[in-house]
Symmetry: C2
Subunit: 329 residues, 2 copies
Amino acid sequence: MSVTIDCLQYCNWSRKIFEQMREGSLDAVHVTIAYHEDFRQTVERVSEWNRLFQEHGDLIVAGRQAVDVINAREQNKTAVFFGFQNCSPIEADINLVEVCHQLGARFMQLSYNNQSLLATGCYETEDPGITRMGRQVIAEMNRVGLVIDMSHSSERSTLEAIEHSSRPIAITHANPAHWHPALRNKSDDVLQALSETGGMLGFSMYPHHLAGGSQCTLESFCQMVANTAERFGVSHIGLGSDLCQDQPDSVVEWMRNGRWTRERDFGEGSKAAPGFPDQPAWFRDNRDFPTLREGLSHVGFQQSEVNLIMGENWLRFFEHAFSQNESSL
Amino acid sequence: MSVTIDCLQYCNWSRKIFEQMREGSLDAVHVTIAYHEDFRQTVERVSEWNRLFQEHGDLIVAGRQAVDVINAREQNKTAVFFGFQNCSPIEADINLVEVCHQLGARFMQLSYNNQSLLATGCYETEDPGITRMGRQVIAEMNRVGLVIDMSHSSERSTLEAIEHSSRPIAITHANPAHWHPALRNKSDDVLQALSETGGMLGFSMYPHHLAGGSQCTLESFCQMVANTAERFGVSHIGLGSDLCQDQPDSVVEWMRNGRWTRERDFGEGSKAAPGFPDQPAWFRDNRDFPTLREGLSHVGFQQSEVNLIMGENWLRFFEHAFSQNESSL
């Protein structure tokens, strides 16, 4: 029996969306709970999710380990794993890495677009790689089982994170830059190093990451997946849709601007188109995972390969990623 | 009548030290109130100083503008100006720049040894210069009158801060690297750019910044001041002693390690000598400012030049540095 995992969403959560997850047979989802939030604000997001788990316990369940995905599927629920798109939740305190893991975090990006205390973001002009604190935090994340995510980081920082990390890392939501050149998409060098070290790439369906944007066809997307599988292997790819369903445009403004500027940054958008772009027609929301399965079959993937891409690869990754590293105890 | 200003101290404050300031005729001092403190902890430091001002109001007074130095001297008191050695007090929030100024902060370093959100510290291997957020924060510091201090920053970041800042910047406590090569001391290029833009260098008497360390002689120090004056002009130099009187060694460990590492960093010290080094014999504490005046006269400075170095240069700098920039209102 196959499993479906989406390794990045940031929706405006509601019962409607949780029901759509069930309709689309989504067994697990990695949800962002912090972009620029500090530790205390991140705790508020955890509290909000605690309430959601209580109120919608018939549809969703907290995900902490790989086995929670299997259990959720058996109960016809979706397991929800927490992640941060920035290192802001640990502030300048390395000890908060373990505390955040205790609160349920399983992924943390080392930087989000800008330079952080740990690594460089993809919108900076310069990329000095992993910082002194970054090397310390990578070791600590490795120890406690908090996955390093470099989706919004820059080239050198990403390569160095792969090199310094003793455990495979993830790029939860991005596409190959050779398909669609964008600051957020990843070079062949990065994809090569990622797959060689057992890391995972989650394919994004966020229009700014797609060739053709909102007009990108399912076939073009699936063909890109096929090309990536051919070049880097079918075992290190999965989904990371970056679905931001029902979010107001104020949210994308927060993502881009946080509290770091008094001007207005448009990120991947522009002054003329500052808001969220339209979803591609073939991935409107969580009900479209079966559409994706069909699309992947159409471009020539075997059923077993479709299963790997749709969730089994992420599940295998989860099995080794989230536990405390006993060798470093 | 001359004025004496020390533009950096971080003592374990007590009535004894405030009395020694009066004994040494110190009219104003820039004190560090944060190394790795976040905003909330910085507010605690402000509260502690509020109490000190109340309890020792016969010896010290809060310094906010240049005129406070003159008023303090007339009342036989020392004006105390606040500064941060790192940007940790503003966390990731540019709006805290103005709030910190409202709380009395007049200096902020953009980075302390390590990479920060704004700039690179002098102990990093790479130095990418001022970050995206750094450029925004520099503009905001320029607007509200919070002085940019690059004492613990690296070469390129310092040069770029000088370039991006519309107001003169400060290196409150460091010495020329050509006299004593140390990661914390400054290159000729930096000193040239600093003085050409009206910036200020405060000479440090912290042993790790001195040729010969704790054994450095008064004559060697004063000769270095004379050489610096000759090369970069006598108008852009002053004192920034870096006096850390009566501090336990746990404090220098906090300065070096904050919360960024789970290992132990020895900074300018070493495993064999991890603590604070001994002060040079000619600058034990605040009572030795007259000794310094004599030393400067001995190496050939005119009395008027001694007065500039001992405080008048800093006073002139203060006059233009701390007010809101009306042109950017």
